[in-house]
């Protein structure tokens, strides 16, 4: 039986003005378990707290009920008080007789009656309270960043700067991501490589950062502070530590007609290659699908020319296991396939390209060495049509497009159009748009400059059909303002393809038990207030894996995610919320319902040996809650059909006791 003390606060006249506090204290005296009851002007004051502390000692109290203001105000205060006097802080319950009683009722009698009932409910609950101790778990002081684009790079640099080791896992042979493929960046038009490559070098030189390039995450186990991750380092058939990146092997490789991914297939690379000049790590990689030595065992030229002796045709995939305290997802985006949009003749004409391909076409390191030449005949295009929202804002067919706005296209299209007019004033540039969306610092000014200073022709309307004929692309479009159908003979058509999360995101989300929306973007813990955390504790989001973003936004989110990671890694131990779910293993029927409703992946199932009533032993599959991951929502408790799952601090019996007390 508990020994409960009741402490009724006047809160000056805030409570005492509408509630007869003496009567309340008196009435609660006769409740089961109550051995002491009193009232005082300000319970939260030092003097008030001392009353509680003394009473605990004097009356050997095991439970406390404070009838006062909202628990959101002073629950923490009174818990500390209790703990200071030597009883478990979770033996304290608050009856909210200010915000939810004295302040909303005018009449002394009704106020007092209600306060007594609220007090009774709190007493009934405390009678069933049990001491709770928050779990503690150690924190591995190392972070994993999945994805080595600008988001992953920025996050890794910030975490490393705070002194924690970071590993970056990147599937491509080099870090840099999409930004490395861009030519210029809006709205300032500085060149992407000039601002990105120094950061890549910083990553390479930072002692706290390890780069696993050409690698992928194979398996993730564990929970916040304690993730066990297996990383698969794919064989690149070149010894990374030895290769100097001199490029002699690349020059001599006879297989030189392999479509170059970095330039989106618009030119060729060799079977052994370094994606681009500033690649990090700057080491060669052999494409096993193209290399004659690996396919047929004939050739071996690269091995002969490599003075460092870095080539190793026998290299195997390597698996690395590492422990991490936090994981940052930075898997980024890709433009969607244009296959379903062949009204724009993307598959029929080389001169219909996506915006990312256009970036390569205007880049000095691109297939045309920065000269704007159209891919089919390498002639200078005189009329260029840009089509916006290709696959964005498309609700008609999920297979075809995406319902959301891809956010970055309006700005990069303005950039492309402006750059063309700047470099090649003899070129006519049309941009077909539904709406021009330019929220962002200096964004709208940028777009207006494209129109007003550079003479880009913005046309409100869409393109309906592109028909290649002869060396022209006949573009049929609507001009909604002029109420006309336009027919333009274009030389080049550029499609602003919608962007979608990288395909690796979904299997990764499954490994992380992190949630995703219907578009495969990672869901944040709270859309407004916790935008860089995943609902799964210890998993953070950086960049476009969470939603379409431009570079400035990506970098801010990347740094925000890093600061959250640092906040986690500085702790030696994680103190959990003790109000977590816990199953009664004897009652659990192993149905997995709780596992499915848990938004945090806190519940797993385990085969455990049980002593049966006849003293035989049996193996049963029972639910296990990881208290470090559980957030204490209670969804599982109600979903549980066998009544095995309960929530500490809000147990079914406690809530029913409150109901009973209220309804008595």
């Amino acid at each position: 039986m508990q020994r409960i003390g009741v402490f009724v606060c006047w809160c000056g006249s805030n409570i005492a003005g509408t509630v007869d506090v003496h009567t309340v204290a008196e009435a609660l005296k006769s409740e089961p378990g109550v051995v002491f009851s009193t009232d005082y002007q300000y319970m939260c004051s030092q003097a008030g707290q001392d009353i509680i502390k003394n009473a605990i000692k004097e009356h050997n109290l095991t439970g406390i009920v404070v009838c006062s203001c909202s628990p959101r105000m002073h629950e923490a205060t009174f818990r500390k008080t209790a703990a200071a006097a030597g009883i478990n802080p979770y033996m304290v319950e608050i009856a909210n007789i200010r915000e939810q009683c004295s302040w909303v009722h005018k009449d002394m009698q009704t106020g007092t009656e209600k306060a007594i009932i609220l007090g009774k409910a709190a007493v009934a609950k405390v009678n069933l309270n049990t001491p709770l101790t928050p779990g503690e778990s150690p924190v591995t002081k190392r972070a994993l960043v999945i994805g080595g684009g600008i988001a992953g790079i920025q996050t890794a640099l910030d975490i490393a700067d705070a002194g924690f080791p970071v590993d970056i896992v990147e599937t491509k042979p080099t870090i840099g991501g999409k930004m490395a493929q861009l030519d210029k960046t809006f709205p300032t038009l500085d060149c992407a490589a000039c601002i990105l490559t120094p950061k890549m070098v910083d990553v390479a030189q930072n002692e706290n950062i390890r780069i696993f390039s050409y690698s992928e995450v194979q398996e993730i186990k564990g929970f916040v502070g304690n993730f066990d991750v297996t990383i698969k380092k794919r064989a690149r058939f070149v010894k990374e530590e030895i290769c100097t990146g001199c490029g002699a092997c690349v020059e001599k490789c006879p297989m030189k007609k392999i479509p170059n991914e970095f330039n989106l297939g618009m030119d060729n690379r060799h079977a052994i290659y370094i994606p681009f000049a500033q690649a990090v790590p700057k080491v060669a990689t052999i494409d096993p699908n193209a290399c004659n030595m690996l396919k047929k065992g004939k050739c071996g030229i690269c091995s002969k020319v490599c003075s460092a002796g870095a080539i190793d045709y026998t290299q195997k995939d390597e698996f690395i296991s590492e422990k991490y305290g936090a994981i940052v997802v930075a898997t980024g985006f890709n433009p969607i396939s244009m296959e379903k949009f062949d009204e724009y003749a993307y598959s029929q004409s080389k001169d219909v390209i996506t915006s990312l391909e256009f970036e390569r076409l205007t880049n000095a390191a691109g297939p045309t060495a920065g000269k704007l030449l159209r891919p089919s005949d390498l002639k200078h295009p005189h009329t260029i049509v840009f089509v916006q929202c290709v696959g964005s804002r498309c609700a008609a067919c999920a297979e075809k497009g995406k319902e959301y706005c891809s956010k970055i296209c309006c700005m990069y299209t303005a950039k492309h159009a402006m750059l063309v007019r700047d470099k090649y004033p003899d070129t006519e540039v049309y941009v077909f748009y539904i709406d021009v969306r330019t929220p962002g610092k200096n964004f709208d000014e940028f777009y207006r400059r494209a129109v007003e200073e550079y003479g880009v022709k913005y046309v409100k309307g869409m393109v309906g059909k592109v028909t290649p004929e002869g060396d022209k692309l006949k573009v049929q479009a609507s001009d909604l303002i002029a109420n006309k159908q336009l027919h333009i003979d274009a030389d080049l058509v550029v499609l602003a393809a919608a962007i979608e999360p990288d395909k690796s995101a979904r299997p990764l989300a499954t490994m992380l038990t992190a949630s995703m929306d219907t578009n495969d973007f990672f869901t944040e813990a709270h859309p407004k207030l916790r935008p860089v955390e995943s609902p799964t504790a210890g998993v953070f989001l950086s960049g476009a894996c969470q939603g379409p973003k431009d570079i400035p936004e990506t970098v801010s989110q990347a740094s925000a995610a890093a600061s959250k990671v640092i906040g986690l890694l500085v702790k030696d131990k994680l103190t959990g919320n003790p109000c977590v779910a816990s199953p009664n293993e004897l009652m659990c029927n192993g149905c997995s319902t709780c596992e499915r409703v848990c938004p945090y992946g806190a519940i797993t199932y385990e085969d455990k040996e049980f002593m049966m009533p006849d003293r035989s032993k049996a193996i049963r599959r029972v639910a296990q809650v990881n208290p470090a991951v559980c957030q204490g929502c209670g969804a599982c408790t109600v979903a549980c059909m066998s009544g095995a799952m309960d929530l500490r601090g809000f147990m079914g019996s406690q809530i029913i006791a409150e109901v009973d007390a209220i309804c008595k």
Partner: protein, 144 residues
């Protein structure tokens, strides 16, 4: 004050993050609602087991209201969606048992909606008062 005026007994389950805070805000702004409403704090509306509601009716409650965060705003991401589905089933079952539909309610009240909380409670108490005492599920062994 009228002596024999009928006073309903209302149990309100409020989620800690939105609705309980909404009720506190109603108090901060001194927005009155009847004292018949007694609030029980739960971490999330999805912690409300239908058993609690049945228990309340059994013990003589005249109305039960569950308040949670607005759809999409749940502190625990998806808890209020579970609640919505569970309560739809429970309410229709109660309806079948003859507990009037107006005696149960599910409302979304955010932490900023003190006024909505008070208005909701005023309205709910009014509706339940109009229905009178709930006898259908009451367990006579625990007569008030």
């Amino acid at each position: 004050m009228q002596v024999n005026e009928y006073k309903p007994l209302i149990v309100a389950f409020c989620c800690n993050w939105c609705s309980y805070a909404g009720a506190d805000l109603a108090g901060n702004n001194r927005l009155a609602y009847p004292a018949d409403v007694k609030i029980i704090r739960v971490p999330c509306s999805c912690r409300v087991n239908p058993m609690f509601i049945l228990r309340a009716f059994q013990r003589g409650a005249d109305g039960v209201i569950i308040c949670g965060c607005h759809p999409g705003d749940c502190h625990y991401t998806s808890g209020n969606y579970y609640t919505r589905r569970r309560m739809a089933l429970l309410f229709s079952m109660l309806d079948y048992l003859g507990i009037e539909r107006e005696r149960t309610r599910l409302e979304w009240v955010s932490a900023a909606e003190g006024a909505k909380f008070a208005a909701t409670m005023n309205d709910f108490v009014e509706k339940v008062t109009a229905l009178g005492e709930n006898k259908r599920l009451e367990d006579l062994r625990c007569k008030r």
